[in-house]
């Protein structure tokens, strides 16, 4: 019996060696043929996602689409010397992922999300020649460019729009994890609503997660049942559940008054019920793609904004309100634009923290 086992084992071992042996050759070949036809001016760029993943239909995905668009415009290919992304499955993956990209010599390395601030700070000290961009957080290092957004300005406009179009005078806000960024979304939204009509009630629900659609669906269910007709979500992938709930309700009862306001990217496509109906009222846009393109442009010109923090708001077109589909009425849009002008001119400062919101409401 020993013979038969030995023969099986040796067969497997041989197979293993063959696999490993071939591996070396293939590897060399691949290393030699990296992106030769690429545009010489173009810089290579790669990103590390946070744990939301690259297909979160929101923050990370938007950044990745920005990178992809840039790469395709400039004739780059996915991979070394072109554009690429690495996904982080746990918090422990940030540092090795960033390190892998540094070793692959990308000109610019983008980290999306405040969770990556500490890892970036650590790596930036070790790899002083690499250039990093951190989105949604500030890292004070000479080789790190920080990009922040005034999310409250976009969500303020969303609040104004929602307050103008609500019939039940009840609105909902679904948040992801409690954090500074989501706090800006919430306070801006509430300030916008209060500016139109302080008597409108805003129900708040933090799900504690950016990746749990089931929690988003439950939260939306609760709010719609309690009488809310418009829900604004700032919760990444969790928000997909808010859309699911709204679409289900609209499918069951075409006369139901349910709307969702999307976040980060234009989430119009998520609200599709059928060819004639869409329940996405609007989306609070956060133009991460624009921000990344700005940094790329500066870097190409030799002015990489290392050590600086760029804060993008309505005035810089870094945030905004989507108008796809025409679910916002003409009057609403006109009023929204009036408020927008006030913010851009500096006549109005939108509160970005709970404390600022308090003093804003007292005025």
């Amino acid at each position: 019996m020993k013979k038969s086992i030995l023969s099986i084992l040796s067969l497997l071992l041989v197979l293993g060696f063959v696999l490993v042996g071939c591996g070396k050759k293939e590897d060399d070949k691949q290393g030699a043929s990296n992106n030769e036809g690429a545009n010489n001016d173009a810089i290579s760029i790669a990103m590390v996602t946070d744990t939301g993943g690259v297909d979160d239909k929101s923050f990370n995905q938007l950044a990745w689409e920005g990178l992809k668009a840039y790469g395709e415009e400039n004739g780059l290919e996915k991979g070394d010397g072109g554009y690429d992304y690495l996904q982080s499955n746990t918090d422990a993956d940030y540092v090795p992922n960033l390190n892998s990209l540094v070793r692959r010599d990308f000109d610019l390395i983008v980290a999306t999300g405040f969770m990556l601030a500490e890892p970036i700070a650590e790596i930036a000290d070790q790899k002083k020649d690499a250039k990093f961009v951190i989105i949604d957080s500030e890292v004070q290092k000479d080789n790190v460019a920080s990009v922040m957004f005034k999310e409250q300005e976009a969500s303020f406009l969303a609040g104004v729009a929602a307050a103008l179009q609500t019939k039940t005078k009840k609105l909902g806000f679904v948040g992801g994890m409690e954090s500074d960024v989501i706090e800006r979304f919430e306070t801006g939204f509430r300030a916008g609503v209060a500016s139109v009509d302080p008597s409108i009630e805003v129900m708040i629900n933090y799900t504690g997660s950016f990746g749990s659609p089931e929690l988003g669906k439950a939260a939306a269910n609760q709010m719609y049942t309690a009488g809310a007709d418009i829900i604004f979500h700032a919760s990444g992938g969790t928000g997909n559940g808010v859309f699911t709930e709204a679409v289900e309700r609209k499918t069951a009862d075409p006369n139901a008054d349910v709307w969702v306001i999307g976040v980060d990217s234009d989430q119009y496509h998520l609200g599709k019920v059928n060819d004639d109906t869409n329940i996405t009222l609007t989306s609070a846009l956060k133009r991460i793609d624009v921000a990344i393109n700005d940094v790329i442009k500066l870097t190409k010109e030799g002015n990489f904004p290392g050590g600086n923090t760029t804060t993008l708001g309505l005035a810089e077109d870094g945030v905004g309100l989507a108008e796809t589909g025409g679910n916002l009425t003409a009057e609403t849009l006109a009023t929204v634009n009036e408020w927008k002008e006030k913010i851009v001119n500096g006549d109005l400062t939108v509160p970005g923290t709970y404390e600022e919101l308090k003093s804003f409401e007292e005025q």
Binding site: C22, G23, G208
Partner: protein, 347 residues
């Protein structure tokens, strides 16, 4: 066939078969298994940096696996390692950044705080099980969520933002020698802590009366009671030690890998993987070394598959799961080998 030969042969066969099935799946979906496995290999052993990071990844798995295995010896299923790890992480980091002490006091104090926090978190399900017979599986699962959200709230309350300040250097487990030889990998002294824990737990289980009693309770509670052992006390002790180990796993994250604690959107996964590690290691402290090494190496090495071979993340998860699946199914090979040997004997 001798038993020891078989014990070595079965895991090897299982890993190889897992790799082959993984290769077939890559082929079917149009990716090169050769490139994929080269990337996996390079991700684990490629250079000193990846080796350092691989060992870094193995460290918390060792302690988490040990925690699960220890409770299991007493017949307890500690699903709460995850939560115990999270409170341990927080406790170690808190001691790390809020006290200023000399290193020889600071590190032990931070580690002890983590262990005690984890132990306390496991004490609750332990005492409920012992006194009221409440199923520890349900309680520990729920305690995970409590741990996650309480620590998130505490971090935001204390730090005012999503990430705490960094721990003082006097509390750090990092090791400049390791950093130098491994090109700044985050390999830290926690690996020694984990290995010491393995030896200590092995010693407790195999060489002490306490260990004998714990195992006896695991085998048969009624018999143990009849033999004059205090079953309730042993259940609580087992849970607390298990939680202490899970807390230590949190300490290695707080004081070594991260050097800070940040709010989390979900579980870390280390505690749950610890269950698989313990099962792979047949709930034996020394077996846990095997389980943690396999798990840690695959988990860390697989990060390199999208990086070097362009294989999508989802595909990588499937392949890694298949390899682990085959290893866990080791008993199938056992049956297969038994059948083979029987046939021969009949002839």
């Amino acid at each position: 066939m001798s038993k020891s030969l078989r014990n070595v042969l079965i895991p090897i066969l299982a890993v190889i078969l897992g790799l082959i099935v993984g290769a077939i799946i890559m082929l079917i979906s149009g990716y090169s298994p050769i490139l994929g496995y080269t990337a996996l290999w390079n991700g684990i052993f490629g250079d000193l940096y990846t080796i350092g990071e691989t060992i870094r990844q193995i460290t918390p798995y060792l302690l988490a696996g040990l925690a699960v295995a220890f409770a299991f010896k007493t017949g307890l299923f500690n699903i709460g390692v995850e939560g115990q790890l999270i409170v341990g992480w927080f406790a170690a980091a808190y001691v790390g950044f809020s006290f200023e002490l000399p290193m020889y006091l600071h590190i032990p104090l931070a580690i002890l705080a983590a262990g005690l926090a984890g132990g306390l978190w496991a004490f609750v399900p332990g005492i409920l099980k012992a006194r009221l017979g409440v199923n520890e599986v349900v309680v520990t699962i729920m305690m995970n969520y409590i741990a996650l959200h309480i620590t998130n709230a505490l971090i935001r309350a204390i730090a005012g933002k999503d990430t705490s300040e960094r721990i003082h250097e006097t509390a750090s487990l990092r090791n400049t020698f390791f950093e130098e030889i491994t090109d700044y990998s985050r390999l830290h002294n926690g690996i020694f802590l984990a290995l010491i824990a393995v030896v200590v737990i092995w010693f407790i289980l195999e060489k002490t009366t306490l260990g004998f009693e714990l195992k006896a309770v695991g085998f048969n509670q009624d018999a143990s009671k009849y033999a004059g052992m205090n079953v309730k006390k042993n259940i609580v002790i087992s849970m607390v030690i298990s939680g202490f180990l899970a807390g230590l796993a949190g300490a290695t994250e707080a004081l070594g890998t991260f050097e800070y604690v940040s709010t989390k959107g979900g579980m870390t996964g280390i505690g749950f993987d610890g269950i698989a590690v313990a099962i792979l290691g047949a709930n034996n402290p020394l077996g846990v070394i095997f389980g943690a090494t396999l798990f840690g190496a695959l988990k860390y090495g697989s990060l390199n598959m999208p990086n070097e071979a362009g294989i999508p993340e989802e595909m990588v998860s499937i392949i890694i799961a298949i390899i682990i699946f085959f290893v866990a199914c080791g008993f199938i090979f056992q049956l297969f080998l038994d059948k083979l040997s029987k046939k021969k004997e009949v002839k």
